[in-house]
């Protein structure tokens, strides 16, 4: 009985030892596998670094060529100077001016006078004289009368209209209108 107990204990210890040996072998194998993978990665890194070195040398030659340096300089100039041309800017300002001038070109209308135009691509201003304040706000479709402020508001390119003072000068009212230009497409 004692002998069989001893056998069990010995075979248990032996199995523990064998299992630990197995784990040891496994650990060694894992280590060897990691070493192998590291070696492969190292070779890959060397290969990529070699390619980088060659490419850098090649690029140095390429990028020192006169044509290319001129191309880069010209491209940067092109980007710097891009934008709306003066030609279109002047044309656009003329269009805005004409639209503003046409505001007083209204049937039955002889009591409004526009002057002192200032037009830029950011803002417009003009001086305005009317015989009666009613002209500013009164609209009567059947009489073909339309309020002057409505006419300015219908211009698509202006926004944030401001009139700060309305001054009486003899029989007329005089004031200045300021507005922002909002069409950003052509700025």
């Amino acid at each position: 009985m004692a002998g069989s107990m001893n056998v069990k204990k010995i075979s248990k210890s032996q199995k523990l030892f064998q299992a630990s040996l197995g784990v040891l072998v496994l650990a060694v194998l894992i280590f060897a596998w990691i070493k192998w993978l590291t070696f492969v990665k190292n070779m890959e890194l060397k290969h990529v670094n070699n390619r980088i070195e060659k490419k850098e040398e090649q690029l140095k030659i390429y990028e020192s060529s006169t044509w290319y340096t001129k191309f880069l300089a010209v491209k940067s100039l092109q980007e710097k100077t891009a934008g709306m041309s003066r030609f279109y800017r002047i044309e656009k300002i003329s269009e805005i001016l004409e639209d503003l001038k046409n505001v007083d070109d209204w049937e039955w209308d002889t009591t409004i006078e526009l002057s002192d135009f200032y037009v830029s691509l950011d803002e417009v201003s003009l001086r305005w004289v009317v015989s009666s304040l009613k002209d500013l706000y009164y609209t009567n479709v059947s009489w073909k009368m339309r309020a002057v402020l409505d006419r300015f508001e219908s211009l698509e390119f202006i926004d944030k209209m401001v009139i700060k003072e309305y001054n009486r000068v003899n029989d007329w009212f005089e004031f200045s209108l300021y507005a922002n230009v909002i069409d950003n497409d052509w700025k």
């Binding site: 001893n6 056998v7 210890s13 040891l24 980088i52 290319y68 003066r86 044309e91």
Partner: protein, 261 residues
């Protein structure tokens, strides 16, 4: 180890009968076997502990650092590949740019007639059509001749006189409907690979259309004669658009740019 085997064999070969006979054997031999089996157990456990210690050493001193090294290499490869990709992109960019410039050189006359007169545009490759303003800038930013002057003003004056102030610069005997009053040229500066020369031109324009014609010469066209090619960029014009139907004295401030090797 042979001793261990012997003890094991001895114990393994035991059966009840043999136990009986063993009981019959002397107590001393039994005791000896028990002691020997304990020794074997302890030995195996001792070996197992050592092996486990070695395993731990392998894990912490070899496998873990090995894994770290492996991961470091992996990330180094990743970043090296990233570098390689960006270098490749630079090379592609270079090849594309040089290809574009070669096409611009070859299609020089077609580009000029397309931009100036909207003709032969269909003969141009799409890449040139898409980059026609870049092509124009490239064709206009020629070098200045090396002279005793800091900037070759001969070329500037010739380009103003024979090209910029012409109503129709592509006709030999084109008229002008404005008066050139003064040309001022300032010192050149260098930046971003190009020389910049500020220049101002005072002119009297009869009306808005003559001003626009001048601006078109500056901003849009390319002179067919290479010696007249200079890239100008208008900085400001003091022109009263509201009184554009009357003759006006106007000053145009511009920069001219050129590339010198």
């Amino acid at each position: 180890m042979t001793e261990n085997k012997w003890i094991l064999n001895k114990l393994m070969s035991d059966n009840p009968d043999s136990f009986d006979s063993l009981n019959d054997a002397s107590e001393a031999e039994n005791e000896k076997l028990m002691t020997a089996s304990r020794i074997v157990q302890v030995r195996y456990r001792f070996y197992a502990v050592w092996v486990l210690l070695v395993i731990l050493l392998i894990i912490f001193w070899m496998i873990m650092p090995g894994l770290d090294t492996f991961n470091t290499k992996k990330s180094q490869i990743q970043s090296a590949k990233g570098t390689l990709e960006s270098l490749q992109a630079r090379e592609d960019q270079y090849k594309q740019s040089i290809g574009f410039l070669e096409t611009v050189q070859q299609e020089d006359s077609n580009i000029i007639s397309c931009i100036n007169e909207w003709e032969n545009c269909q003969n141009l490759p799409q890449e040139v059509m898409d980059g026609s303003w870049l092509a124009r800038t490239f064709l206009l930013t020629n070098g200045m001749n090396k002279t005793k002057m800091d900037v070759d003003e001969r070329k500037i004056i010739e380009s103003v006189d024979r090209y910029l102030v012409k109503l129709e610069p592509f006709l030999n005997n084109s008229s002008v409907n404005w008066t050139l009053n003064r040309i001022s040229i300032w010192d050149k500066t260098f930046g971003d690979g190009l020389y910049t020369v500020p220049i101002s031109i005072d002119m009297t324009f009869e009306d808005k259309s003559s001003l626009l014609s001048f601006i078109n010469n500056v901003e849009k066209y390319i002179p067919s004669e290479e010696s007249l090619r200079i890239f100008y960029k208008i900085n400001s014009i003091n022109y009263d658009v509201i009184n554009s139907d009357q003759p006006q004295d106007t000053t145009i401030y511009m920069n001219l740019y050129y590339y010198d090797e």
